[in-house]
Amino acid sequence: MTTRTLQFKIYRYDPDQDQKPYMQDIAVEVDSTDRKLLDALVKLKAVDDSIAFRRSCREGVCGSDALNINGRNGLACLTDLGSFPDGKPIVLRPLPGLPIIRDLIVDMTQFFKQYHSIKPYLINNDPPPERERLQSPEDREELDGLYECILCACCSTSCPSFWWNPDKFVGPAGLLAAYRFIADTRDQATNERLDNLEDPYRLFRCHTIMNCVDVCPKGLNPTKAIGKIKDMMVKRAI
């Protein structure tokens, strides 16, 4: 089995012990069965067990191992080790713009607060039918590319508007989810949802720079969803 040594530069900060954050140089040996960055991180943990990071499903579904990898947000479990150039250390930092709890673990409270603020659930006051609320295949199709979001926060934490106003701007992840319910023909709160977003901060902080689209590990397009919300607001206003 062929092995190779990977060099890492990892952001370290333990608020109980460290005066300030620092970058730690550390090397780890990986073999050919280690495919993803997360595999290497798990081995790193064996070299230095004080390194803290989140992980769970290891297959791009839970969204817990989002990191800033060589300056770009992504999921450790979906990042191929083969994609890193040889001889250059892999720089790992926590997601930018959120408070650090420890090392690579960030406090996602603000991110989830914004997600909750758009009421991410179906609002329908009619009594539910015996089996299910039906949709035409065309109406259902509109939800493709919206419902797949895993809330890893790669997008929102790569968005400068979210960095400046995380308490007021909903952020790409929240707005994608907002459009998921605005677009749902079974939802009855469309107007209230649009009212909730018609604000210079909550929606219109988005200046279409598309960092969110660039980094989304699920290949989703929050910018397009935001554009559709704006379109609906224009149609509603004229």
């Binding site: 508007s161 106003n165 007021k168 977003l197 018609e198 210079p200 901060y201 219109f204 607001m233 206003a237």
Partner: protein
């Protein structure tokens, strides 16, 4: 006053739309002026003055100036909203920006109709 985060000013759409519409007005005006310059309207002071003082051109130039100021208002306020957090300073900057832009628009109108 309790320190709560409050949003929901409900003018987001209007300003976003205004920024786009004024942008289009400025693009059209710029193309018209560029076309006129290519056809030699800027060849001499007299030809340039004749072009700019025509009734329709005065109207268009004024529309351009108003669009420019309105566009700048939305854009500059966006900068204050992002980078200035204390409400008092933010309000003062908003007012100063607005006053400056209104002043510029008035000054421009005076120049256009003095031609």
């Amino acid at each position: 006053m309790v320190n709560r985060k409050i949003v929901g000013a409900h003018y987001g759409l209007k300003d976003w739309l205004a920024q786009r519409v004024t942008g289009v007005v400025m693009v059209v005006f710029t193309l018209v002026v560029a076309a006129a310059l290519l056809q030699g309207a800027g060849g001499s002071y007299d030809s340039w003055r004749a072009f700019m003082s025509a009734g329709l051109m005065r109207f268009a130039t004024f529309l351009f100036i108003v669009s420019l100021c309105w566009h700048a208002w939305v854009g500059v306020r966006d900068i204050w909203m992002d980078y200035v957090q204390p409400a008092g300073i933010k309000l003062a900057l908003h007012v100063l920006t607005l006053l400056a832009l209104v002043g510029y628009a008035g000054w421009a109108a005076q120049i256009i109709w003095r031609l």
